[in-house]
């Protein structure tokens, strides 16, 4: 095959242009939308509790339910553009951990009795999934899960007066990680 240097240069330019365009599509389908969504929900729930708003428990539950619905909507929209094979073993691990966290442990140890304990427990359940996912797929979820867990525990155990301030900081960390993933990160959050 004979290719002139001009043709080779043009081909390499076309390759780079195609790569750049696809990179933006890949980035648009990363986990940043979930991080922004749940970061915003964390911040709102923390603000409701910090301000001592009436019916904050019901409002917090409503926000969490809306977040779950929105998460499914994001998953559906992203899956119609770029999809990864489902890792059934990992899905099984997630289901088992959630079943134990919401079913088995509370049955033995009792349900959290305060807003701080409920928020802390509810978030730590999901943060353990972040840590497991981060180890499983070798990605940013590991350090994000560890950092947020440390923040929640520090607020709950050592700085109860500043608990809601620290959870707001946790929400900001989630949103900030979303920007990091959107702008800089190249690998898939659920795949290697």
């Amino acid at each position: 095959m004979n290719v002139t240097p001009e043709e080779a240069e043009r081909s390499l330019r076309d390759i780079e242009a195609s790569r750049l365009a696809m990179r933006s599509l890949v980035r648009a389908n990363r986990g940043h939308l979930y991080l922004w969504l749940w970061g915003a929900i964390w911040i709102l729930i923390s603000l409701l509790n910090w301000a001592g708003v009436d019916r904050r428990g019901a409002l917090s539950n409503g926000l969490a339910a809306a977040g779950i619905v929105a998460s499914f909507a994001i998953a559906f929209l992203q899956r119609s553009r770029v999809r990864s094979p489902v890792n059934l073993r990992f899905v099984g691990v997630c289901i088992a951990m959630l079943a134990f966290s919401y079913g088995v442990w509370p049955a033995f140890l009792g349900f959290p009795h305060s807003a701080k304990a409920a928020f802390g427990y509810g978030t730590l359940v999901w943060l353990q999934l972040y840590v497991v996912a981060g180890i499983w797929f070798d990605n940013y979820l590991l350090w994000l899960g560890i950092a947020l867990t440390a923040l929640i525990l520090a607020g709950f155990l050592f700085l109860p007066a500043a608990f809601w301030m620290l959870t707001i900081l946790g929400g900001v960390l989630l949103v900030g990680t979303g920007f990091y993933v959107r702008l800089f990160w190249r690998s898939g959050p659920w795949t290697r």
Binding site: I15, E16, S18, M22, V26, V82, R192
Partner: protein, 97 residues
Amino acid sequence: MDALDPVIHQPARLQIMAALCQLPAPERVDFSHLKRHLGLTDGNLGAHLATLEARGYIAVEKAFVARRPKSFVAATPAGRAAFAGHVVALQAILKPR
């Protein structure tokens, strides 16, 4: 030295492979998004994909999303290796001897 691959070198197929190799390994992209991304028609993209699939460079997965049939396309390991070799060969042409 890596050789130029005539199947990949065709401009549209070169862009298809460049796009698909940009996706992390097990991920697949929807046919209609690839079509928009490359500015090709259905028939044109379909023909190029068939050529690449016959060579074993890509895999096409048919699936239903919201009860609508969709095709998802991914580069195979052989396709990624061939594309990487092709890029090296192109770069070698530009290097001063």
